[in-house]
Subunit: 229 residues, 2 copies
């Protein structure tokens, strides 16, 4: 994932191409992302692990890689986490929780068409804003222990259920036209998920701008004209 | 998005759930996928490496993992490939080439709306059919050496250019209504790419069935009614 760096350094490949493939891995974990009762050193370790897991994958990351990222000795990790897998779990759990919260914040809008639009925009904007954490949440779940995967899958189910319920309501109320809800919900969610592969905060779109654009595209997929009142 | 599988399986979190997250890794590399001048042992090593890279990532895979998959000693890899990175390159190069060929096979249709539909269907069907190879092609490119990444990025550019050119033509001819070609082409490609994360050949959709369904959704996104003549 060093291509962005490499190219910015003056290589011959154009910026957009590699950027698209290997989203930049700046540590975009904002203050307040991790649970409030997490010690500052533990938060720093989680943010370092996000970068490591996103760059080389969970299995290839050592505890030494994670601690080195914050200038600590390898043993320091075990003061805060029982294992590397627990670090991944804390990232995946918190990441999915925050994404769910972003959707829930929109979930009391009145009109079903507007609700679907807001949910898609929130979904896309969250994944763009937090693309490095989201990359770990999407691609590294196979590293979780079964009981931890259960917790994360439950959060994912609640997330998908929010979107599905809004689409079903819009369909029932006649403001959307959706021949197959399974395909439509999956496709809409893919718009947000896949951007973690290529999105960069210094690219052409702000998270909010991309959220707006993709929400319009999603409404079209769901059979609603975005320019209807 | 393992939700459907979990329910279908009836258990609390049967194998199917995790399997959907980490799409099935059956070696779905058909005979004839690799270059014809590749020796049979080298082909077997490539297919084994596809499974290893898809399961634990390029960086965490050892040459021993790859050779063990075909019952050979670790040194056997170097008879056929100079390095593990060259194995990844051969997979990525061939995978992108085959996907490009699948699109090119549709690229001489007459009507622009039909052409776009066929390209999306071919894109989605290819990624579903070859989801394990495609997973490596989408998620493991950061393991490539710069000169190899260049080759693969060129193939990706040609791939995206085919789709973009069809969308632009449809837009120019008035059969599509596309406010922003960049967003639209990215969104359409995401439908095919993201399915490598969750698709299983033994799931609800055949590769061709999913290709058809997503082609309809893509035409809606692009402002064409799929039921127009």
């Amino acid at each position: 994932m060093a291509e962005g760096e490499r190219r910015r350094g003056g290589g011959r490949r154009p910026a957009a191409a590699a950027a698209q493939l290997v989203a930049d891995l700046e540590p975009v974990v904002p203050d307040g992302f991790w649970a409030q009762d997490t010690a500052p050193v533990a938060r720093a370790l989680l943010s370092s692990a996000v970068v490591c897991f996103a760059r080389t994958g969970f299995h290839a990351t050592t505890t030494r890689d994670i601690t080195a990222g914050v200038g600590l000795s390898p043993g320091a990790l075990y003061v805060h986490f029982p294992s590397k897998e627990e670090v991944l779990f804390e990232i995946a759990r918190t990441g999915h929780q925050r994404a769910l919260e972003a959707l829930q914040a929109r979930a009391d809008e009145g009109d079903a068409r507007r609700l679907v639009r807001d949910l898609v925009a929130a979904h896309v904007t969250w994944h763009a804003r937090h693309h490095t954490v989201a990359r770990v949440c999407q691609y590294e779940l196979a590293g979780l222990a079964p009981e931890h995967l259960d917790v994360v899958l439950d959060l994912r189910q609640r997330f998908a259920a929010l979107m599905r319920s809004a689409v079903e309501r819009g369909s029932r109320e006649g403001v959307l036209d959706v021949p197959d809800v399974n395909h439509a919900v999956r496709a809409v969610l893919s718009l947000g998920v896949d951007l973690v592969r290529w999105y960069r905060l210094d690219g052409a779109d702000t998270p909010e701008g991309l959220g707006d654009a993709y929400a319009d595209l999603a409404l079209r997929m769901l059979g609603a004209r975005p320019d209807q009142p």
